[in-house]
């Protein structure tokens, strides 16, 4: 019972890319972290997809046993242009999800996580398969999507309507980020952005967080994923085109740079656009959702040691303390799976200057342990 700690192998994406950690290497590393009992895995990242051999499956189970780790959630995807001659229908997307549910079962997982944008109709179509295989489908709630918007509400409605125990959400901790990470801003500066723009976007976000200004709160991006907002904004800056509901926000970001940053260039707009990737979720938003929370992605961007407190680590851009306090108070029983995402902010440099994901994950787990165990 209570809050359990796991590691999402998404965290080791770079180590997988450079072949420093294979599947067993990741299991071994995760099992070596004190208190970690579960793992989360992306099917298209770490398994032979779509149909691993029987030998692979057998070996996988043997390894999970050897390292004493529980497969918690398998993260699945859906690219709607797969067939290239038409856009996939809801039925076709549901077929893929059903396949992935069966794969998850075969590999011993309890849950599958779908993309944040997966339409509710697709989830409903796959629900009978989820019931049959006793796998919970959980839609990821990822910044800038809020906890109290349409995407979560429609899940709650289906759960209420059907009484199913096999549908829920995976909130990504990035919804509690309140400013762009320092490693993201440093990356932009190395790409040619002005330090002044970084200060501007940080101030803009902090003013919102501390309640000094409501300019950011007024912007509604509740139906877009972070990746899509970024690519829409990128295209807007190149062509001026954007979905109508996104235009006012894009125009505001553009205006702020033009009025405040001398000698700005295109990349300064993208820095400002980082403000649009925040969900502005509040810890107490979690309370009514606890029954449908399947697990959390413990998203973070950079662990750093608190000055004067050796061994005490925090992410300076993400609130962990507030939400964990709420989870403890209201008796959340489930996993927080560490999901490190700062590595890509070092990949513009040389191989020697890449950051160690293993080290970052270990520090994140130390922080989780501290916050969960402290009174």
């Amino acid at each position: 019972m209570g809050i359990k700690r796991g590691v999402d192998f998404y965290s080791y994406q770079q180590a997988q890319f450079f072949k420093e950690l294979d599947l067993e290497g990741m299991l071994k590393e995760a099992s070596g972290i004190e208190g970690v009992t579960g793992i989360e895995v992306l099917d298209e990242q770490s398994f032979p997809y779509p149909d691993p051999s029987d030998e692979f499956v057998e070996n996988w189970h043997a390894m999970c046993k050897k390292y004493n780790l529980e497969p918690v959630t398998m993260d699945v995807f859906c690219d709607v242009l797969q067939f290239r001659d038409h856009v996939m229908s809801f039925e076709e997307c549901a077929d893929r999800l059903k396949h992935d549910i069966k794969l998850a079962k075969k590999l011993g997982f309890k849950n599958v996580r779908t993309l944040a944008t997966t339409n509710i109709e697709i989830l409903e179509l796959a629900l009978p398969t989820a019931e049959e295989y006793d796998i919970r489908i959980a839609k990821e709630i990822h910044a800038p999507i809020p906890l109290n918007g349409q995407y979560v509400k429609e899940i709650q409605e289906v759960v209420e309507k059907t009484g199913t125990k096999h549908l829920g959400i995976v909130p990504d901790w990035g919804i509690f980020a309140y400013r762009p990470s320092e490693v993201t801003l440093d990356w932009y500066v190395r790409q040619g952005a002005k330090r002044k723009t970084c200060e501007l976007v940080d101030q803009f976000c902090m003013d919102n967080y501390t309640g000094k200004s409501d300019a950011l709160s007024k912007i509604d991006l509740s139906l877009y994923t972070g990746g899509n907002v970024e690519s829409f904004f990128h295209r807007y800056l190149k062509t001026g085109d954007a979905p109508e509901d996104l235009k006012p926000a894009f125009e505001l970001m553009e205006k702020m740079v033009k009025e405040n940053v001398p000698d700005y260039t295109d990349i300064d707009f993208e820095v400002m656009g980082q403000a649009l990737l925040l969900s502005r979720a509040k810890p107490e938003d979690l309370i009514p959702l606890l029954p449908i929370i399947v697990n959390f992605h413990g998203k973070f961007y950079n662990m750093s040691e608190v000055e004067g407190q050796p061994g005490i680590y925090v992410d300076k851009a993400v609130d962990y303390e507030g939400p964990i306090r709420v989870l403890k108070e209201y008796g959340y029983d489930g996993y927080i799976n560490t999901e490190y995402e700062g590595q890509r902010r070092f990949q513009d440099r040389t191989e020697k200057e890449l950051i160690s994901e293993v080290d970052q994950v270990r520090k994140h787990q130390l922080m989780l342990k501290r916050l969960i165990e402290e009174a």
Binding site: Q13, F17, Q45, P48, H86, H234, Q347
Partner: protein, 152 residues
């Protein structure tokens, strides 16, 4: 992401046919994402070598132990998966290949992977985007420049 590591540094070399004629060049590339994708989504490359652009119609892609395929053929590989940790070989047709020494390669990959439905879906079924415009390159938005030494 992986900006500096998408092309393997020691992989640029000339392509030679069975008669010993140099017919083009090749390099090894990785998927610019944190996961693999169905191969059909792979939409080609923006490639400029020493200022000369080589478009999709002179590119082929070698993956999964099969002979190099054009991107029209790749498009039909709808049940074949390009796994995350697999390296593919990009072949470019160019009579005589590249000269010995260093070359400046500008590079962007286009893979039509996304987070769910997008307003561009129908348009991209009818007319796939031209690599280099940023479409299908969300994770590595800018064209990356490499300086590569032609291998023997």
């Amino acid at each position: 992401m992986y900006d500096n590591f998408l092309i393997r540094k020691d992989s640029l070399k000339n392509d030679v046919d069975e008669n010993g004629n140099v017919i083009g060049f090749q390099f090894a590339a990785r998927n610019a994402n944190y996961r693999g994708v169905y191969l059909s989504l792979h939409n080609g490359y923006y490639i400029k070598v020493d200022g000369i652009q080589y478009k999709r119609d002179v590119q082929t892609f070698e993956i999964n132990g099969k002979a190099p395929r054009t991107f029209e053929e790749i498009k039909t590989a709808v049940w074949e998966h390009w796994d995350y940790d697999d390296e593919g070989i990009v072949h470019v047709k160019k009579e005589g290949g590249l000269t010995p020494g260093k070359h400046v390669v500008d590079f962007q990959q286009s893979v039509l992977a996304a987070y769910g439905y997008l307003p561009t879906d129908e348009e991209w079924v009818k007319c796939p985007p031209e690599p280099g415009m940023g479409a299908g390159s969300d994770k590595t938005k800018n064209i990356v420049r490499y300086e590569l030494e032609l291998q023997e």
